[in-house]
Symmetry: C2
Subunit: 350 residues, 2 copies
């Protein structure tokens, strides 16, 4: 139906081979002929068929991303859209597209990777939300699918990683709170099965330990608003409740802040709160959220580039370290209350 390379060859009075050379900048055709072929191709509106190209070159010209999050969470977590936008920024400059899979049902994740690998739909994948002892590493190895991981997996991984350290940000948040006089600093963590859930928790622990404070006020949640509320409620029920809570993401922080306010606590008067990600909405909360400003778009850009480099063999094999995100102080953090607010504590205990 569409115009093929044979049409161009015929119109230009040369063979298919010559056209192929001319269009790919390969030697083997004179400049005059090359120019003529290019002109004819343009006049005819020829566009190379990706399918045919892929068949002979054994490439898919596509990268894969499997997202295995609960769609509920996906919906409000600003990470992925920005991350994907970053990937696209890189891909737009190359002849690649992004194939996205969302795996919600259990078991769907492995099926998704197999689906991408089996028919040769993608040339490589970007692995996000790396988990403790992540089984996908072995899977991708088995499927012989090139990959890059976001952050370095704790089990061995043969794939290059693109890392954005979250230690610095959390440390800065804790130090900021300590500087404000807080000593009871809690942490509402993301699911600890994720390595970024773990590393944020460890960073919080270390920062407290460095000042000799106890890291007893931990509650595990799942990065969702619902989980954030539950974990916050748990921490506020404790006898010696926190005067500040460091959350592992903005969504939980927002939900926790709202919950605390609904229990009669003032933020930051009775409770200081920090988030993580610097989602757009954080600056429009009441009070605006102190958070850690990450750059998922850049992360996506770099990860896609690393994968492309790996595919065409120009990758060094070394991990890439992106600049660590930094603390953004807004109005949800303030000085430690002089004495615990008994009224609020009582309410929170109910």
């Amino acid at each position: 139906m569409a115009v093929t390379i044979s049409d161009v060859a015929q119109a230009a009075g040369v063979s298919k081979g010559a056209v192929s050379y001319a269009l790919n900048g390969q030697p083997g055709v004179s400049d005059a002929t090359r120019g003529r072929i290019l002109q004819v191709a343009k006049d005819l509106g020829w566009k190379p068929s990706l399918r045919a190209k892929g068949l002979s070159s054994a490439k898919a010209y596509a990268l894969g991303l499997v997202v295995a999050r609960d769609p509920k969470l996906l919906g409000t977590d600003p990470f992925f859209p920005a991350f994907i936008a970053g990937i696209e920024t890189t891909l737009a400059e190359h002849d690649y597209t992004l194939v996205l899979s969302v795996a919600t049902a259990p078991g769907a994740e492995e099926r998704a990777y197999r689906k991408l690998a089996d028919g040769g739909r993608v040339d490589g994948v970007i692995l996000t939300d790396v988990r403790h002892n992540d089984s996908r590493i072995g899977l991708l190895r088995e499927l012989k699918l090139p990959a890059v991981t976001l952050n370095r997996p704790d089990s061995g991984s043969p794939f290059p990683a693109v890392s954005m350290d979250d230690t610095d940000g959390i440390t800065a948040a804790v130090e900021h709170l300590i500087a404000l006089g807080h000593v009871r600093i809690g942490h509402v963590g993301g699911a600890q099965e994720y390595i970024h859930g773990r590393s944020r928790r460890r960073a919080w622990e270390s920062a407290l330990a460095a000042t000799g404070l106890a890291a007893d006020l931990f509650a595990e949640a799942d990065f969702t608003a619902r989980g954030g509320v539950a974990a916050t409620a748990e921490l506020l029920r404790r006898a010696d409740r926190p005067t500040a809570i460091v959350y592992a993401n903005d969504l939980m922080a927002m939900a926790g802040q709202s919950y605390a306010q609904s229990q009669g606590l003032s933020v930051p008067g009775d409770l200081s709160v920090t988030g993580y990600d610097n989602a757009e909405f954080t600056q429009y909360l009441n009070p605006p959220l102190t958070t850690i400003s990450t750059d998922p778009m850049r992360w996506g850009r770099v990860a896609a580039q690393a994968l492309l480099d790996q595919l065409n063999g120009t990758h060094s094999g070394k991990d890439t370290d992106l600049q660590a995100p930094s603390l953004l102080v807004r109005a949800s953090t303030g000085p430690v209350p002089a004495t615990p607010n008994q009224h609020a504590t009582k309410q929170a205990n109910q």
Copy 2:
């Protein structure tokens, strides 16, 4: 590298053609031979190459989605992730994948569609965020790319639409507020270039007109938190300010609610607020948001199915109408204040 159909043919002692027939359930092979071929294929772990398949069948086995939103907005709008998850639900049952493009820069959108169409990367696309006199309709026609649209474009469109009416929800919200005694009901609309921005505004106007109320309290925003704040500020500055605001989405409602509170207004004591979408976070706001509960996942599922049907010729060509979303009353709406809160008005005017 991988095992091909020729390997299977050789191992089974038949020709390539026979293998192809056997594997596709076509007649032309005896049951005995078919069984043998299937067994051999299984033993060898043969997976058909999508590329080769696509070349001969002239299909890409992929659907395209171009998202042309500001990544900032994308990040917090819960629509897309859930919508995409819905698409995946359908695609998982078919041998199709989703190719996602995010177009952020101006002009990138058209380039993205061309990129998908040119190499034959996708067999069809789903058109979201339809705009007034949407130029993409003509573009897709020119590119001969099959499509379905989300809601029916206001300019003529040859593509089937999958619609989810937003009139009922907005109408219900306005009627709910009227029942609570409100007469000054404002609307913070999304960008009016979008048809869903327009239809929500019109629904608000009609619902007010039906009760003889004036629809003068309109402010256009852009579906972002920042825009929501600006529009809310504008409405609250008006001499005869609203006692209730109907927002075109949750994000603006959240931001507007926070802004009003920061100006000393109580929600819903001084100002009632409604959103649209029922994003997860809305129930964890303080107060929880009265909103309209949509089902983007179902929308994605149905839209993908409609496109697939169209591609294999089984589509009726008629538009599909999904069940209209319904109002979900929570605590951000309440009775109209007895008299305008002078203190708050003064603050809001500052």
